[in-house]
Protein backbone atom coordinates (compact mmCIF):
# COMPACT_ATOMS: atom_id res chain seq x y z
CA UNK A 1 0.00 0.00 0.00
CA UNK A 2 1.37 3.42 -0.82
CA UNK A 3 0.26 6.65 0.70
CA UNK A 4 0.76 9.78 -1.34
CA UNK A 5 0.84 12.93 0.65
CA UNK A 6 0.19 16.29 -0.96
CA UNK A 7 2.48 19.24 -0.19
CA UNK A 8 0.06 20.42 2.48
CA UNK A 9 0.33 16.98 4.02
CA UNK A 10 4.11 17.21 4.20
CA UNK A 11 3.84 20.43 6.13
CA UNK A 12 1.35 18.84 8.50
CA UNK A 13 3.66 15.88 8.95
CA UNK A 14 6.53 18.21 9.82
CA UNK A 15 4.39 19.97 12.41
CA UNK A 16 3.35 16.67 13.97
CA UNK A 17 6.94 15.44 14.08
CA UNK A 18 8.14 18.67 15.67
CA UNK A 19 5.36 18.50 18.25
CA UNK A 20 6.29 14.91 19.07
CA UNK A 21 9.92 15.87 19.53
CA UNK A 22 8.97 18.68 21.91
CA UNK A 23 6.67 16.42 23.93
CA UNK A 24 9.29 13.68 24.24
CA UNK A 25 11.93 16.21 25.30
CA UNK A 26 9.68 17.75 27.94
CA UNK A 27 8.74 14.33 29.32
CA UNK A 28 12.36 13.19 29.41
CA UNK A 29 13.46 16.20 31.42
CA UNK A 30 10.46 15.99 33.74
CA UNK A 31 11.38 12.46 34.78
CA UNK A 32 13.54 11.95 37.89
CA UNK A 33 17.17 11.80 37.00
CA UNK A 34 16.58 13.54 33.66
CA UNK A 35 18.52 16.74 34.09
CA UNK A 36 22.12 16.30 35.21
CA UNK A 37 22.93 17.01 38.82
CA UNK A 38 25.18 19.87 39.73
CA UNK A 39 28.81 18.95 39.85
CA UNK A 40 30.74 19.02 43.07
CA UNK A 41 33.13 21.97 43.43
CA UNK A 42 36.85 21.21 43.68
CA UNK A 43 38.03 20.32 47.17
CA UNK A 44 41.73 20.98 47.58
CA UNK A 45 43.55 19.39 50.52
CA UNK A 46 45.93 22.06 51.71
CA UNK A 47 47.40 23.31 54.95
CA UNK A 48 45.46 26.02 56.75
CA UNK A 49 46.75 29.56 56.32
CA UNK A 50 48.97 31.01 59.04
CA UNK A 51 46.97 32.41 61.89
CA UNK A 52 44.13 29.93 61.66
CA UNK A 53 43.05 28.12 64.81
CA UNK A 54 43.46 24.35 65.05
CA UNK A 55 41.05 22.32 67.15
CA UNK A 56 41.81 18.64 67.66
CA UNK A 57 39.13 16.09 68.32
CA UNK A 58 39.29 14.93 71.94
CA UNK A 59 40.19 11.41 70.78
CA UNK A 60 43.02 12.85 68.67
CA UNK A 61 41.85 11.40 65.34
CA UNK A 62 41.33 14.64 63.40
CA UNK A 63 42.07 18.37 63.43
CA UNK A 64 39.62 21.08 62.43
CA UNK A 65 41.05 24.42 61.26
CA UNK A 66 39.28 27.74 60.97
CA UNK A 67 40.04 31.47 60.82
CA UNK A 68 40.02 33.57 64.01
CA UNK A 69 36.75 35.20 62.96
CA UNK A 70 35.05 31.98 64.09
CA UNK A 71 34.77 31.19 67.78
CA UNK A 72 34.75 27.82 69.51
CA UNK A 73 31.28 26.55 70.20
CA UNK A 74 30.08 24.26 72.97
CA UNK A 75 28.64 20.95 71.90
CA UNK A 76 29.11 17.22 72.29
CA UNK A 77 32.09 16.44 74.48
CA UNK A 78 33.67 14.18 71.88
CA UNK A 79 33.36 16.78 69.08
CA UNK A 80 34.72 20.22 68.24
CA UNK A 81 32.70 23.07 66.79
CA UNK A 82 33.24 26.69 65.81
CA UNK A 83 30.93 29.36 64.48
CA UNK A 84 30.61 32.93 63.38
CA UNK A 85 27.45 34.37 64.82
CA UNK A 86 25.54 37.36 63.56
CA UNK A 87 23.11 39.75 65.22
CA UNK A 88 20.82 37.96 67.59
CA UNK A 89 23.09 34.94 67.66
CA UNK A 90 22.16 33.76 64.18
CA UNK A 91 24.63 31.41 62.54
CA UNK A 92 26.63 32.87 59.68
CA UNK A 93 29.22 30.11 59.48
CA UNK A 94 29.32 26.79 61.29
CA UNK A 95 31.99 24.12 61.51
CA UNK A 96 31.90 20.81 63.31
CA UNK A 97 34.00 17.67 63.49
CA UNK A 98 32.78 14.51 65.19
CA UNK A 99 34.18 10.98 65.35
CA UNK A 100 32.20 8.51 63.28
CA UNK A 101 29.43 7.25 65.51
CA UNK A 102 26.92 5.38 63.40
CA UNK A 103 26.85 2.97 60.47
CA UNK A 104 27.86 5.53 57.86
CA UNK A 105 30.17 4.32 55.12
CA UNK A 106 32.07 6.06 52.37
CA UNK A 107 29.97 4.30 49.74
CA UNK A 108 26.63 5.43 51.15
CA UNK A 109 27.56 8.66 52.87
CA UNK A 110 25.26 11.01 50.96
CA UNK A 111 22.16 8.90 51.55
CA UNK A 112 23.07 8.43 55.19
CA UNK A 113 23.55 12.14 55.77
CA UNK A 114 20.27 13.08 54.11
CA UNK A 115 18.43 10.43 56.10
CA UNK A 116 19.96 11.59 59.33
CA UNK A 117 19.01 15.20 58.67
CA UNK A 118 15.41 14.25 57.93
CA UNK A 119 15.13 12.05 60.99
CA UNK A 120 16.85 14.37 63.39
CA UNK A 121 16.41 18.08 63.04
CA UNK A 122 15.33 18.94 59.50
CA UNK A 123 11.82 19.27 58.16
CA UNK A 124 13.14 18.88 54.63
CA UNK A 125 16.54 18.08 53.18
CA UNK A 126 17.71 17.97 49.57
CA UNK A 127 20.93 16.72 48.07
CA UNK A 128 22.62 19.23 45.80
CA UNK A 129 25.80 17.36 44.87
CA UNK A 130 27.87 14.44 46.07
CA UNK A 131 31.29 12.99 45.42
CA UNK A 132 33.38 10.04 46.54
CA UNK A 133 37.11 9.44 46.65
CA UNK A 134 37.99 12.93 47.85
CA UNK A 135 41.59 13.30 48.94
CA UNK A 136 42.01 14.75 52.41
CA UNK A 137 45.09 15.51 54.42
CA UNK A 138 45.70 12.13 55.99
CA UNK A 139 42.71 10.33 54.53
CA UNK A 140 40.05 9.82 51.91
CA UNK A 141 36.45 10.89 52.09
CA UNK A 142 32.98 11.09 50.62
CA UNK A 143 31.21 14.43 50.63
CA UNK A 144 27.72 15.74 50.05
CA UNK A 145 26.41 19.24 49.56
CA UNK A 146 22.83 19.57 50.68
CA UNK A 147 20.40 22.11 52.00
CA UNK A 148 17.76 21.68 54.65
CA UNK A 149 15.16 23.57 56.65
CA UNK A 150 15.23 23.13 60.40
CA UNK A 151 12.16 22.00 62.25
CA UNK A 152 12.73 24.70 64.82
CA UNK A 153 12.65 28.19 63.37
CA UNK A 154 12.48 26.99 59.75
CA UNK A 155 16.05 28.12 59.17
CA UNK A 156 17.37 27.27 55.73
CA UNK A 157 20.96 26.04 55.86
CA UNK A 158 23.27 24.67 53.21
CA UNK A 159 26.23 22.49 54.11
CA UNK A 160 29.17 20.45 52.96
CA UNK A 161 29.33 17.28 55.02
CA UNK A 162 32.13 14.77 54.59
CA UNK A 163 32.88 11.37 56.07
CA UNK A 164 36.66 11.10 56.19
CA UNK A 165 38.51 7.84 56.67
CA UNK A 166 41.95 8.28 58.22
CA UNK A 167 44.56 5.64 58.83
CA UNK A 168 43.01 4.40 62.04
CA UNK A 169 39.52 5.85 62.30
CA UNK A 170 36.84 7.85 60.56
CA UNK A 171 35.24 11.16 61.39
CA UNK A 172 32.64 13.56 60.05
CA UNK A 173 33.34 17.19 59.22
CA UNK A 174 30.51 19.62 58.53
CA UNK A 175 30.71 23.20 57.21
CA UNK A 176 27.44 25.09 56.97
CA UNK A 177 26.01 28.54 56.32
CA UNK A 178 22.56 30.02 55.80
CA UNK A 179 21.44 29.09 52.29
CA UNK A 180 20.91 32.74 51.43
CA UNK A 181 24.60 33.41 52.15
CA UNK A 182 25.89 30.18 50.61
CA UNK A 183 27.49 31.67 47.50
CA UNK A 184 29.53 34.07 49.57
CA UNK A 185 30.43 31.58 52.31
CA UNK A 186 31.25 28.62 50.08
CA UNK A 187 34.89 29.48 49.23
CA UNK A 188 35.83 29.75 52.90
CA UNK A 189 33.89 26.63 53.84
CA UNK A 190 35.62 24.65 51.08
CA UNK A 191 38.97 25.89 52.32
CA UNK A 192 38.15 24.86 55.88
CA UNK A 193 37.12 21.41 54.66
CA UNK A 194 40.29 21.18 52.58
CA UNK A 195 42.41 21.99 55.63
CA UNK A 196 40.82 19.20 57.67
CA UNK A 197 43.35 16.64 58.87
CA UNK A 198 42.48 12.99 59.51
CA UNK A 199 44.80 10.69 61.38
Amino acid sequence: MTIHLPRRGKYALAVVAASAAIIVTVVAFARPGGPPRRSFPPLVAAAAPAGWIHAELPNGTAVLSYPPSLRPLAGDKDAVSAARRGPGGTFQLYLNATPRQGTETLAHWAAFRLGLLRDDDAATAHQDAAVQGVKFRGGTGSCVIDDYITRIGAHHFQEIACLVQGRTSASVVVAAAPAAQWARARPLLLREIGAYVAR
Binding site: R31, D76, A79, R100
Partner: protein, 75 residues
Protein backbone atom coordinates in the same frame (compact mmCIF):
# COMPACT_ATOMS: atom_id res chain seq x y z
CA UNK B 1 -7.98 1.59 1.20
CA UNK B 2 -7.24 5.28 1.67
CA UNK B 3 -6.28 7.57 4.51
CA UNK B 4 -7.36 11.12 4.92
CA UNK B 5 -4.57 13.36 6.00
CA UNK B 6 -6.44 14.62 9.06
CA UNK B 7 -7.00 11.11 10.42
CA UNK B 8 -3.42 10.16 9.78
CA UNK B 9 -2.06 13.20 11.63
CA UNK B 10 -4.50 12.72 14.48
CA UNK B 11 -3.37 9.12 14.81
CA UNK B 12 0.27 10.10 15.08
CA UNK B 13 -0.52 12.79 17.64
CA UNK B 14 -2.59 10.34 19.69
CA UNK B 15 0.18 7.76 19.72
CA UNK B 16 2.71 10.41 20.75
CA UNK B 17 0.49 11.62 23.56
CA UNK B 18 -0.06 8.06 24.78
CA UNK B 19 3.68 7.37 24.78
CA UNK B 20 4.36 10.53 26.75
CA UNK B 21 1.62 9.71 29.20
CA UNK B 22 3.02 6.25 29.81
CA UNK B 23 6.46 7.70 30.50
CA UNK B 24 5.09 10.20 32.96
CA UNK B 25 3.01 7.59 34.72
CA UNK B 26 6.01 5.32 35.07
CA UNK B 27 8.03 8.15 36.54
CA UNK B 28 5.22 8.99 38.91
CA UNK B 29 4.96 5.45 40.25
CA UNK B 30 1.53 4.36 39.12
CA UNK B 31 -0.45 1.94 41.21
CA UNK B 32 0.09 -0.99 38.86
CA UNK B 33 2.26 -3.93 39.88
CA UNK B 34 5.95 -3.54 39.20
CA UNK B 35 8.30 -6.23 38.01
CA UNK B 36 11.18 -7.05 40.32
CA UNK B 37 14.41 -5.21 39.60
CA UNK B 38 16.71 -6.96 37.18
CA UNK B 39 19.71 -6.49 39.44
CA UNK B 40 20.07 -5.95 43.13
CA UNK B 41 22.41 -3.53 44.81
CA UNK B 42 23.48 -3.54 48.43
CA UNK B 43 21.23 -1.21 50.34
CA UNK B 44 22.65 1.80 52.08
CA UNK B 45 23.03 1.12 55.79
CA UNK B 46 20.32 2.83 57.74
CA UNK B 47 21.49 5.35 60.24
CA UNK B 48 20.64 4.90 63.87
CA UNK B 49 16.96 5.64 64.31
CA UNK B 50 17.50 7.55 67.49
CA UNK B 51 16.65 11.16 66.87
CA UNK B 52 17.73 13.47 69.64
CA UNK B 53 14.75 15.45 70.85
CA UNK B 54 14.56 19.03 69.69
CA UNK B 55 14.29 22.07 71.95
CA UNK B 56 17.54 21.32 73.78
CA UNK B 57 16.67 17.71 74.31
CA UNK B 58 19.46 15.28 75.01
CA UNK B 59 22.36 17.65 74.50
CA UNK B 60 23.04 21.32 73.99
CA UNK B 61 23.93 21.11 70.30
CA UNK B 62 22.78 23.96 68.07
CA UNK B 63 20.91 21.49 65.88
CA UNK B 64 18.50 20.78 68.70
CA UNK B 65 17.58 24.43 68.77
CA UNK B 66 17.14 25.39 65.15
CA UNK B 67 20.83 25.75 64.38
CA UNK B 68 22.95 23.95 61.79
CA UNK B 69 23.28 20.18 62.09
CA UNK B 70 26.47 18.71 63.49
CA UNK B 71 28.16 15.51 62.43
CA UNK B 72 27.04 13.20 65.17
CA UNK B 73 25.21 9.99 64.44
CA UNK B 74 22.23 10.84 66.62
CA UNK B 75 23.81 8.87 69.39
Amino acid sequence: MSFTLGRWAAGVALLTALAAGCGTAAAGHSSGPKPPPATTHPAAPAHTANPIPQHNGGDQDPDNNGGPSDGDGNI
